[in-house]
């Protein structure tokens, strides 16, 4: 990917407790989370986090509860102060910002979508959607048009003058998304934005997000504990465990070569045929095979290829992208790829 780096997190540490700086020395000296808690009664929140978030991409940070993912996202707009490290947005260190700069960053650069929606219950949907603009000092008349446009875009036309408690959970989160979009900020932080919704609505909302992303190309940082969700949305996937990064990279790569037993465990349950794409398992070659059954796109998932081949493993397909051949796919390779890989320990921990 040749996009600009929008946000860069460098050597970020967060320790909770009465003396975080003192505890930091122990962590730098190699003490683990459990030991730190037992011996010094400090909680290690984040440990040596390095992530580059590229402009216009969806970066998904995934981990189980307690892995520090919500803590991490709150460092980006400094809702939480780190113990050590840097967070650079467009090359400027956010942690050195004074109050005014920080407020400007929060108002104009970053918007946030919350797990529990966090709408203002005493304001109408319209006023909620325009909250970012209201904060900047615009009146309702000023932003009415804008807010209505975004509400319509997320499918809430006609609900403008209702109150949040009159809407269902899914609709409330649409207001949350409209609120973030209406702020017109280049970065959108989404903290488990869809976790409180039921599966069908969640899937709808994921589609909505992808659709909006195609259109708007925002820099999205998405937090989730759901692997399927992260594989569906991620351009760049960061897997957190106990406050440190276990692996990060392109999701397909992580699927094909997990470097930690933790991740192997994690991905062993998923439907590989549905999430793996042709491009991750094809043989890259421009040479046309002698005999092929047809053309498939490199973005197809394996499930659709199996359906196309009708289960015949003797076939070979030509993989094309924008009309040009980029590789070939042997159905036998495809079947092999469906078997979960063993954890390839000894690999580098991350791609840096």
């Amino acid at each position: 990917m040749d996009r600009n780096i929008k946000i860069s997190i460098r050597n970020l540490y967060k320790i909770f407790g009465p003396d975080p700086v003192g505890a930091l020395e122990h962590v730098r000296g190699g003490m683990g989370k459990a030991e730190l808690l037992e011996k010094h009664n400090h909680v290690l929140g984040l440990q040596d986090i390095n992530v580059d978030i590229h402009e216009g991409e969806i970066t998904v940070i995934m981990g189980l509860s307690g892995s520090g993912k919500s803590t991490l996202i709150r460092h980006l707009n400094r809702l939480i102060e780190p113990t050590a490290g840097e967070v650079q947005v467009d090359g400027e260190d956010v942690l050195k910002f004074d109050e005014n700069q920080l407020r400007k960053l929060r108002r104009e650069q970053m918007s946030m979508v919350f797990q529990k929606f966090a709408l203002l219950p005493h304001k109408t949907v319209l006023e909620n959607a325009g909250m970012a603009l209201l904060v900047r000092g615009y009146s309702v008349e000023d932003f009415e048009g804008d807010a209505k446009k975004w509400l319509a875009r997320v499918g809430l036309e006609g609900n403008e003058y209702q109150y949040p408690h009159q809407l269902s959970g899914g609709m409330q989160q649409r207001v949350g998304i409209a609120r973030a979009l209406a702020s017109n900020s280049p970065v959108m932080l989404m903290d488990e934005a869809f976790s409180a919704l039921d599966p069908l609505i969640r899937s709808d909302m994921q589609d909505l997000l992808l659709e909006l992303q195609d259109e708007l190309q925002k820099t999205v940082v998405f937090i989730t504990h759901d692997l399927d969700e992260s594989l569906k949305l991620a351009d760049h996937l960061v897997i957190l465990k106990d406050g440190h990064i276990v692996q990060q990279g392109e999701p397909q790569e992580i699927l094909m070569s997990p470097n930690d037993p933790y991740i192997t465990d994690f991905i062993s349950d998923i439907n590989r045929a549905r999430v793996l794409r042709v491009r991750s398992i094809m043989k890259k070659t421009a040479e046309a095979p002698d005999d092929y059954a047809g053309d498939i796109s490199d973005r197809d998932n394996l499930e659709s290829v199996i359906a196309l081949s009708d289960g015949d493993t003797s076939l070979t397909y030509r993989v094309v992208r924008k009309g040009k051949q980029v590789g070939i796919l042997d159905m036998k390779e495809l079947v092999k790829a469906l078997v979960p890989t063993e954890g390839s320990e000894g690999d580098a921990r991350s791609r840096y």
């Binding site: 929060r106 108002r107 966090a118 219950p121 005493h122 909250m131 949040p164």
Partner: protein, 344 residues
């Protein structure tokens, strides 16, 4: 010889004790004791007196008696009283003006303006015809039995005092909610104001201000009634959903925007519950305050007790109940309206 002689002799304080003896004239009790020849050591451990100030005084005349403690308090208060009055008098003077003004206005406006005006206010805050009807019947009933004047006096005192309670209480509550230090300092004071028997804090007020001034009872009512509105404002703001506060932060609200656009509006149901309690408590206090010249229905209750006029006291008491029910229903109905417009 008294029980604790050994204590002073073992400490070598006999001389100091003797000094006290030579100075002080003998008290009546000591004189009686001497003539009767009692005051010997108790025979058994069973009758051992607690080493209190009075018991120790028996052994050592220089040791102060407990009455001297309370006397010291009195003298201390009296000595700072004048300088306190210099500061407090002008500060609290507006309260007298408010109370006198409200009483004058309420009593000198003809009933056929006051009653419809009150009913209009009731309708405006509750939007309920049923309640307006109830208030109308109650007021007409009170007026019919010639209690109109007293009821209006009580009402105008409550209006002024409850208004001032809200005016001061809400900002204090907000300050408490924003600083844990402030909360730690304020809560003991609130606890004390709430648990002190209401008669007790009339005492220093009587010394500080002249009984003829209306601010005397005004202060007593405000001190007693301000507590719930402070507490519930503090509580309401602290209970505002943390997620919503976080969202306000994340969208870059200043702390002022956060306070007035998020915290106070969301705490409003709790604040209104505090206002309701404050009004109820000022009504309770306005009756007690009739002891220090507060006009109104309380005067009739007092008259009923003093002159054993059973009927006057009972009917005035019923009048207070009616006022209480009116005030409670009206504030609760407006609270319900606020709640309905912002349930989560």
């Amino acid at each position: 010889m008294a029980t604790y002689d050994f204590l002073f002799s073992s400490l070598g304080l006999e001389e100091w004790c003797a000094e006290g003896k030579s100075d002080a004239p003998m008290s009546m009790a000591a004189l009686l004791q001497k003539t009767k020849g009692t005051g010997a050591e108790p025979e058994s451990l069973w009758e051992l007196p607690f080493p209190s100030m009075n018991a120790l005084n028996e052994s050592c005349a220089a040791f102060p008696k407990s009455r001297e403690l309370t006397k010291g308090l009195e003298e201390g208060f009296l000595s700072i009283k004048d300088s306190m009055s210099v500061v407090l008098d002008p500060l609290t003077q507006p309260l007298s003006w408010f109370l006198d003004g409200a009483l004058y206005g309420m009593l000198n406006t003809p009933w056929w303006i006051v009653i419809p005006l009150l009913l209009a206010v009731v309708f405006f805050v509750t939007k309920s015809w049923k309640l307006v009807g109830f208030v109308a019947v109650s007021l007409v009933l009170l007026a019919f039995i010639d209690y109109y004047r007293y009821a209006m006096e009580t009402l105008s005192i409550i209006f002024v005092c409850a208004f001032l309670c809200v005016l001061f209480g809400v900002p204090i509550g907000i300050a408490m909610s924003r600083s844990d230090m402030m909360q730690r300092l304020t809560i003991p004071v609130l606890d004390m104001l709430q648990t002190l028997p209401p008669f007790v804090y009339l005492i220093p007020l009587i010394f500080l201000f002249s009984v003829t001034e209306s601010k005397l009872y005004g202060i007593a009512i405000i001190l007693y009634a301000i507590v719930p509105v402070i507490r519930l404002t503090n509580l309401g703001i602290r209970l505002v959903d943390k997620d919503v506060i976080e969202a306000a932060d994340a969208f870059g609200m200043t702390s002022q925007q956060k306070l007035f656009k998020v915290q106070v509006p969301l705490a409003l149901p709790n604040i209104m519950a505090g206002v309701n309690q404050t009004i109820m408590m000022s009504l309770a206090m306005v009756v007690i305050a009739s002891l220090v010249s507060a006009p109104g229905l309380g005067v009739l209750v007092l008259q009923g007790i003093r002159n054993l006029e059973l009927g006057v006291g009972l009917v005035a008491g019923l009048g207070i109940v009616i006022l209480a029910v009116i005030l409670d229903r009206v504030t609760k109905a407006s609270l319900a309206r606020i709640n309905a417009s912002q349930k989560q």
